[in-house]
Symmetry: C2
Subunit: 458 residues, 2 copies
């Protein structure tokens, strides 16, 4: 079989860094979300761009699927090998290549995680802001166009990737972008690979934009009587142009879950979690203005965390919310929703979603990056109970319909993989076929992460 | 001939809005830069997206080139009809479709100019920041990925276009993006059309991000003894993270030109032109900090303009600088250069450029958006003097080599057209072929603005 020939060639190339043990295959066939196990035929651990190019050349020769793997935290089955093939695990390509403090940019290998990068940057006064909660790899984050709690201030991966080195589907090595802050030089290939989920090529190096560590940081939690009040406060804040660094919503069910999982004692009410970055006086001014806005919408019980330990505890709690919610129903798996709407429609979208879930008996705590208009309902299911799975999937579909009707998108940050494929026509119409045409042009053999994101090839 | 058949069909469709008068053809065959006249065979003035689709269908049927036209201010021959064909002039599609103040976005037709948009927005408290000096169309600005004086604060068209309606090469109408602030839903087609110079389709509607009009604005000019001092001040400012809204450089030759053209009396020294946006106190604080930085690099003669009239006079002078420089040598045309480098290399790039021009006897005042690392030398030539033209082109090529060697780009904001085609391999290598593959996939007949941006089709 083609795949066996490819693996033989890979073993020659990589020796022990081409692995076929069941445990390793299973590890690379799993998803954090509800998709079934789908292991690759082999896992390759390259150490250089040149090796990545050779791996892809071998797979291209044998028409074997190639699936990139960062840390495997993506939530739509993006990194799973539903059609088998070779998983390229970037964990050994995790170096910081160059830090350019004067230009506030950094070149990194794709397997580096965002936490490891920020550890390296600590002494420079700079940091990389994109924060998807999970300690994901920068190559994976670029590939899903990740964002997270800080996008409201610093943007998403789209805004923070300046350039890439990519191995294309025929095993060539190309570079996109430059270290200049802007360019009008041809098609924005960097932007095309960001969010492409490894379907157009493998990222082997990234140039990332850095930001100055703020002089002052202050974080807070604030309770509201209802989700509507919390969301209205967010809308006012955004419309006033108050420079929030983070502004997160947790509904009552999410609060209950984190209280129990992270040993907190937040009042059982909807909460906003906030953070301000700036000068001492700027942060103080913003906090005051936000306090007034919140009060106007029934906000209460402000709790400011100015010490770094308290802030860390707060955001660790938030980052663990997904696991806290899963733990609220032992044995459950999650259908993770991820809609994003224009900010003026946020209250409507959240409230209609909550009502819909309640009316349909779907357990789905809501939380999200509401400063961007982006929120998740984590729909808890017993994966073996077909009725539950169906009810959750139907609720998820209604959320997407609602988001699209309000001018929004099916996925604010998690991407398509196979989980959101079914919504692509509704969101993009003919433009989805254009994505397919690009895919066919750049990967004519359909070996790069096949079955994901684009229309199925005939 | 195919083109005549196409025009007959267009006349049936558009009546008097399909024009073949010599004056109109010549008007649409001209460039603001040094490229020779290259008129289209006809100019079409559509009024609806539907008409644009029909125009493209007709041209596709007869394999006739289709070239979009906004206001024709692009500087690399992008809008000229070097291979003939039909120019689609968007001046009658210039409506504001919807202003969404709550979401701070706006939907517009492509022929609307940025000044007209900002007039419409005046009462809303919002504005559209991208400012290429020329009163360009928003469709043209998106197509060249334009930026200008305010990109250092508000980003380029890449950052401010949220979604598009596009007529593709086969005359279908697609939509890209949504009104949500972010999305991970598939390939970033919006980003692909931004900067594509009409080679992949015609933009018939844009959704643009708006920004709040600042509470306070203050602008200033400041003289320096040498360009090195001015540029060092810029570098320090950027590296400190001081939130400049504009920071522009003019060298001595540029200052002389604007003094005479705009009747100013600036000291004959290199100057920085600056603007701060923010709260009253924020602007005051920034101005003070900048003052200290500038003094440290020999800055002097600060002149603050807080009244709107004085600021307008200042920026009108800056926006007319191109014409002022042209007027400095009557009858001359310009080879406009547009390199952009990482900020740490800016002083080196500017100084080496100035030395090179002096050494080679090329007259080329330097000015630019130095906060982004982007600057222009406007190389003045007698277009009939082959020696001069050659010397200017060689100097331009050396500037690009210099920029690429420093990690920069051949064009920060003007784009490729035909003028920068010769640098694409040096900047992009194999990635330029990838652009060609995308073009072939999306425009297999090569009718959308052929001959521009991508590698010549075999
Ligand atoms: C608890 C939890 C919270 C989360 N919160 C957020 C959040 O707030 N915001 C958010 O955006 N996401 C969030 N996610 C989702 C996930 O963290 C992101 O999708 C992340 O970007 C995935 O990174 P990864 O390194 O794990 O990529 P993987 O899952 O390994 O891969 C993701 C995709 O990228 C491809 N890929 C990986 N590396 C490369 C490469 N070098 N070249 C080409 N393709 C490659 C893979 O093939 C796959 O298609 C969360 C996930 C969890 C489990
Ligand atoms: C004095 C002066 C100063 C300038 N300063 C700057 C500056 O600071 N920054 C900057 O970025 N640029 C600057 N420019 C260049 C120019 O203004 C920009 O390139 C601008 O974006 C061009 O817009 P336009 O409407 O004139 O487009 P056009 O010149 O009409 O067209 C530009 C390109 O876009 C295509 N096009 C036009 N409309 C559409 C559409 N609806 N759909 C698809 N394709 C279309 C055309 O075919 C062409 O390829 C300057 C020019 C001048 C003359």
């Amino acid at each position: 079989m083609a795949v066996n020939e490819a693996i033989t060639a890979l073993e020659t190339l990589l020796g022990e860094r081409c692995v076929r043990s069941k445990s390793d295959l299973d590890l690379h066939g799993r998803s954090e979300s509800h998709f079934p196990l789908a292991p690759p035929d082999a896992v390759a651990y390259p150490e250089t761009t040149q090796e990545v190019a050779q791996i892809v050349q071998i797979c291209a020769q044998h028409r074997v699927p190639v699936i990139g793997w960062g840390t495997g935290t993506s939530l739509e089955g993006q990194a799973q090998a539903f059609l088998g093939g070779v998983c390229v695990d970037f964990s050994r390509m995790n170096a910081v290549v160059a830090i350019n403090t004067e230009d506030m940019d950094v070149q990194v290998q794709p397997g580096l995680t965002r936490e490891a990068l920020n550890n390296e940057l600590r002494a420079t006064g700079l940091f990389f802001p994109v924060d998807p909660g999970a300690n994901a790899s920068l190559g994976g984050m670029a590939s899903t166009r990740a964002s997270g709690t800080t996008a409201v201030r610093y943007g998403t991966m789209r805004d923070n990737v300046m350039g890439l080195e990519v191995v294309t589907s025929d095993g060539r090595i190309i570079r996109t972008g430059t270290r200049a802050r802007k360019s009008s030089s041809g098609y924005d290939l960097t932007g095309l690979f960001v969010g492409a989920e490894g379907t157009l090529g493998l990222i082997t190096e990234l140039t990332l934009r850095l930001h100055g560590q703020p002089e002052a940081i202050s974080a807070a939690v604030c309770a509201f009587d209802d989700v509507g009040g919390a969301v209205s406060a967010v809308m006012d804040t955004i419309q006033m142009g108050l420079p929030m660094a983070r502004i997160e919503l947790m509904d009552v069910a999410s609060v209950r879950a984190v209280n129990s999982y992270s040993n907190m004692a937040l009042p059982e009410k909807p909460h906003l979690l906030l953070e301000f970055h700036g000068s001492d006086s700027g942060v103080a001014e913003c906090s005051e203005v936000f306090g007034e806005i919140a009060q106007g919408h029934g906000g209460s019980g402000f709790d400011w965390a100015t010490r770094a330990e308290d802030r860390n505890a707060l955001w660790t709690m938030r980052h663990n919310a997904y696991y806290a919610i899963l733990a609220a129903r032992p044995g459950a798996r999650a259908v993770v929703t991820d809609i994003c709407v224009p900010i003026s429609k946020l209250a409507q979208a959240v409230e209609e979603t909550a009502d819909d879930l309640a009316a349909n008996g779907v357990q789905g705590p809501i939380l999200g990056h509401v400063g961007d208009g982006n929120f998740h309902a984590i729909l808890l299911i017993d994966a073996d109970n077909a009725t539950e799975v169906k009810a959750a999937e139907a609720a998820s579909a209604r959320m997407v319909e609602r988001a699209l009707a309000l001018g929004g998108t099916a996925t604010g940050e998690h991407g398509i993989g196979i989980g959101k494929l079914g919504y692509m026509i509704a969101e993009h119409g003919q433009a989805w076929n254009m994505m397919g045409a690009i895919k066919s042009a750049l990967d004519p053999q359909n070996i790069m992460n096949p079955g994901k994101l684009v229309p199925p090839r005939n």
